[in-house]
């Protein structure tokens, strides 16, 4: 890079930063949008909090959508995952007269009143990770929990050769999604892979890696022929992998579950964890805007519709809730594609 070019870049960066700062002030002040923004319909995605890897990744999807369609789509989020701050952000957006609000709620219930106000103001509202939301035009879910649980079990069964003892971990016995995944997985196994047997019931990891680790070591001691483990909380597979590695059983035990490459990466690399799954927030961010644009154009989303986003090619609609099949499977081979 020549020094000259460097200076140019710097000037460019400075300009972008300045624009960014101006935009931030406008949002913070809850001011009426500038004339330029009125030309195209403004679509804003409100996330739980800004700055963490997950929602940075979602912002990439929103930007990608804006570039691909030329629509004015942006993302905002408070510095902390606070329901009250999220309500404030949405109130500002209503005052600004945006066309659509996509929201990933911190607390679905806390948002209902302000979302109702948005709907009353003829603003399209699309939720995500909020299947219980009432005051929305649509809610988009990456997948149906039952289908996801079955998908994980299918992967585990393949690794185990369709037979042998396996165990399941949940974060808490009370966490709804984890239990939905695991219950669907167990039912699927009983139906499709009768030679597999569940041992130890549902184990609780308290979403703590060391707890998962201790449980799995105890499990291995009790069921020395254990061949597979399915995790639910992001820490489950890591704690399990560590236990399996410590016991020297890497070749015997297969591990699949929900986690993120940034959490489970080291063990994916060594092969202690066979596969992890999650959904890609970038795709969800993109798809939310597609749904919002459809609603703005007066179209409805029906089952089997294609949203034009990977994983959302054949959605299922149940009331206001749209389900994709947007899980992403990550193994040692493709883990480098994800930086969160």
């Amino acid at each position: 890079m020549t020094p000259n070019k460097g200076r140019e870049n710097m000037a460019g960066k400075f300009r972008t930063a300045l624009l960014g700062a101006l935009a931030a002030t406008a949002i913070a002040g809850g001011m009426v949008g500038t004339a330029g923004a009125q030309d195209k319909k403004e679509m804003v995605t409100v996330v739980k909090l800004s700055g963490i890897a997950w929602f940075n990744r979602m912002e990439e999807g929103v930007k990608e959508y804006a570039e691909a369609t030329g629509n004015n789509a942006t993302q905002v989020g408070a510095a902390t995952a606070d329901a009250a701050l999220q309500v404030q952000l949405i109130e500002d957006l209503i005052a600004r007269g945006v066309a659509a609000i996509n929201v990933v709620p911190n607390s679905p219930q806390a948002l209902e009143p302000v979302l109702k106000r948005a709907l009353d103001n003829k603003i399209v509202v699309v939720g995500h990770e909020g299947a219980t939301l009432q005051n929305v035009t649509y809610d988009l879910e990456a997948f149906d929990n039952k289908a996801y649980g079955e998908h994980l079990m299918e992967a585990l069964a393949q690794k185990m050769g369709g037979e042998g003892e396996y165990a399941v971990l949940v974060g808490y016995l009370t966490s709804v999604t984890h239990n939905e995944w695991v219950d669907a997985a167990i039912a699927y196994q009983k139906d499709k892979y009768p030679k597999m047997t569940l041992v130890g019931g549902k184990l609780e990891s308290a979403e703590q890696q060391q707890q998962a680790n201790a449980k799995v070591r105890e499990l291995l001691r009790t069921y020395p022929n254990l061949k597979g483990i399915q995790g639910s909380a992001g820490e489950d597979v890591v704690g399990a992998a560590l236990a399996v590695e410590e016991a020297g059983l890497n070749d015997q035990v297969s591990i699949v579950g929900t986690s993120l490459p940034s959490v489970a990466g080291a063990y994916l690399e060594t092969g202690d964890i066979d596969m992890i799954s999650f959904w890609d927030p970038a795709k969800a961010g993109y798809a939310m805007n597609v749904v919002a644009a459809k609603a703005l154009a007066g179209e409805t989303v029906k089952s089997d519709d294609d949203l034009g986003v990977e994983g959302y090619e054949k959605v299922r609609v149940d009331g206001k809730v749209i389900y994709g099949q947007a899980w992403v499977d990550v193994t040692a081979e493709n883990m480098d594609e994800y930086d969160f």
């Binding site: 703590q208 890696q209 060391q210 499990l219 291995l220 560590l242 410590e246 959490v263 990466g265 080291a266």
Partner: protein, 339 residues
């Protein structure tokens, strides 16, 4: 009278806990014959490492008549702040440095508790409930919320270094990591402090009667400040030990396990009302709590029932010594009346 001394020893909280632990292990062994082995013991020691270290800090606080629920937040804060600091500066740091830094941060946070409790004389439960939330909130707001998984290489090799490695009944490896040394050192330190120093005697004196301690010339405020600084330091060490065992720094870890640790200390014979508690008892308590938490599965107890059983055992374990003590006192009174 030797007989009398024997029954006294039998009635001591440690003996009751030890007997309970042995009985419990025998019951598990009845379901799972492979259970009674050296490998199980090693596994148990490894599982109770962090609980044990935390418990020794809590012991000091309970002995002084206080209660601390903020130590897990201190441990998580110290561990995570140390890791983000070292990773942020990107300087090579010997493994000892991680522990020292974490202990220092723990000491500073403990000082906050100490000043509020010793300096201002505020109630311990209220203060530490507040600082539990404060330290955790500060950690997540100002330090970070992301998992640090790419920990330095020397931390990983420390985590992989084992003092002892053996095979259990079914041919799996069981090992005791080098971080066990931390528990040993903290144990020696606390045992020395509580049994062989004036400071230790002051702690028990304050726990027995604060007013009494003041009258015999103990500077109660100063001792209290130090108690929480030491408890904070130990929490910092426990946090770092936890990190090396996990091989990653997760800021959401540890908080939520405080009642488990307090239960361990109380099982070990310390009283919530202060003035009592021994190092041996506390370590036994930590072992028993861990044993209960990590072996019901091998006895075939389903997950929902495990909580019920843990609850019953804690009530029995803490209640029984008190009842035995009361019974012994009652008999003593009868004996005296007969004379």
């Amino acid at each position: 009278m030797p007989m009398r001394r024997f029954t006294n020893a039998l009635a001591s909280p440690q003996a009751v806990v030890l007997a309970a632990a042995i009985l419990f292990a025998l019951v598990i062994a009845a379901f799972n014959p492979g259970f009674l082995s050296l490998a199980t013991l090693v596994d148990l020691l490894r599982n109770s490492l962090v609980t044990g270290i935390f418990a020794l800090g809590v012991l000091i606080v309970l002995a002084s008549g206080g209660i601390d629920v903020s130590f897990t937040a201190i441990g998580a804060f110290a561990m995570y702040a140390t890791m983000s600091l070292v990773m942020g500066l990107d300087v090579p740091m010997p493994i000892l440095g991680f522990f020292v830094l974490s202990a220092l941060i723990g000491a500073l946070l403990g000082l906050v508790n100490g000043v509020l409790i010793g300096g201002l004389g505020l109630p311990t439960l209220i203060v530490t409930l507040g600082t539990l939330s404060l330290f955790r909130g500060a950690l997540l707001t100002f330090v970070g919320t992301t998992y640090i998984t790419n920990v330095p290489r020397n931390v990983i090799s420390f985590a992989r270094t084992m003092i002892l490695r053996l095979e259990n009944a079914v041919g799996q490896l069981v090992s005791l990591p080098l971080s066990f040394v931390v528990l040993v050192l903290v144990t020696l330190f606390v045992a020395f402090l509580m049994n062989l120093t004036r400071f230790g005697r002051s702690i028990y004196a304050i726990g027995g009667s604060e007013e009494g301690a003041r009258r015999i010339g103990i500077d109660v405020a100063r001792v209290k400040v130090w108690i929480y600084v030491i408890a904070g330091t130990i929490a910092g060490l426990a946090g770092m030990t936890h990190m090396t065992l996990s091989r990653m720094a997760n800021p959401f870890d540890l908080v939520g396990t405080e009642l488990n640790v307090i239960a361990a200390v109380v099982l070990g014979g310390a009283r919530i009302t202060g003035g009592h508690g021994t190092v041996t008892g506390t370590l036994l308590g930590a072992l028993v709590i861990t044993l209960i938490n990590t072996s019901l599965l091998s006895a075939g107890v389903p997950s929902y029932w495990q909580k019920v059983v843990v609850g019953i055992l804690i009530v029995l374990g803490t209640g029984l010594p008190i009842l035995i003590d009361r019974f012994a006192k009652h008999r003593e009174r009868l004996a005296r009346a007969a004379v």
